[in-house]
């Protein structure tokens, strides 16, 4: 399946890119599998995850075309 990946703020600078596209094998891929494709390091514990613009976690299962975003804690307002 094809997954669109986005990075924001300090994580975008750390990853050296704003977005990525990954292809995962199998029917039961999770957000954790996506992180494994975009980085060789464990995901930092403070990083938040969204799938299709809703907060979730590394265990969420994905379907082809999903948009997965990784970003640090939010600081608006």
């Amino acid at each position: 399946m094809e997954i669109d990946v986005k990075f924001f703020a300090s994580l975008r600078e750390r990853m050296g890119r704003t977005s990525d596209k990954v292809t995962l094998d199998g029917d039961a891929a999770t957000v954790s599998d996506v992180w494994g494709q975009v980085s060789s390091e464990p995901m930092p514990s403070n990083i938040l995850v969204a799938v299709n613009k809703e907060y979730t976690d590394l265990t969420q299962e994905l379907k082809s075309g999903d948009e997965v975003a990784f970003f640090p804690p939010v600081t608006g307002g």
Binding site: F8, Y55, F71, P72, G76
Partner: protein, 156 residues
């Protein structure tokens, strides 16, 4: 309810007046409570000269709208307006406006506090500050409002 995320400069009091003149029915609300967040020239002991506010287009608006809806469901509120800046800004620039109209002041105060607190907690924005010495750094965390737990219990 109206939620706007914009790069353009924000004049919060013009926004309130414009919303009252164009959206609200005259004479029906008993008051408006507003919170205007402005940029400080200091943070965590450092002098701040400028700031860039990043966001996640689509997700940011969606989560502000969810928080506004929770406030409208939780209190006797007639309307909520949120305008939030993104992009480059400087000390004293308004960053965010939350305005809540209600027939009675208690609901408006509580709902306004709820919206700004949960907007800060959930809407994906990130502040990147530039110090007067020219160093750039991302803000790691927002300050917490001590009343936030209490106000959430009332609304959800």
């Amino acid at each position: 309810m109206r939620v706007v995320v914009q790069e353009a400069a924000l004049d919060p009091y013009k926004e309130i007046k414009h919303h009252e003149d164009t959206v609200l029915e005259s004479g029906k609300h008993g008051g408006v409570v507003s919170f205007v967040g402005t940029m400080r020239d200091f943070n965590d002991g450092e002098d701040v000269a400028a700031m860039n506010l990043d966001h996640y287009p689509g997700m940011t608006e969606k989560h502000i709208e969810q928080v506004c809806q929770e406030a409208m469901d939780g209190w006797d509120v007639m309307d909520v307006l949120v305008v939030h800046r993104v992009g480059d800004m400087y000390p004293s620039d308004p960053i965010v406006l939350v305005a809540v109209w209600s027939a009675h002041r208690a609901s408006a105060f509580d709902a306004c506090r709820y919206v700004i607190n949960y907007l800060k907690e959930r809407a994906p924005f990130w502040k990147c500050e530039v110090t007067k010495a020219g160093e750039k750094h991302w803000v790691e965390h927002n300050s917490k409002d001590p009343g936030v737990a209490e106000s959430r219990e009332k609304a959800v």
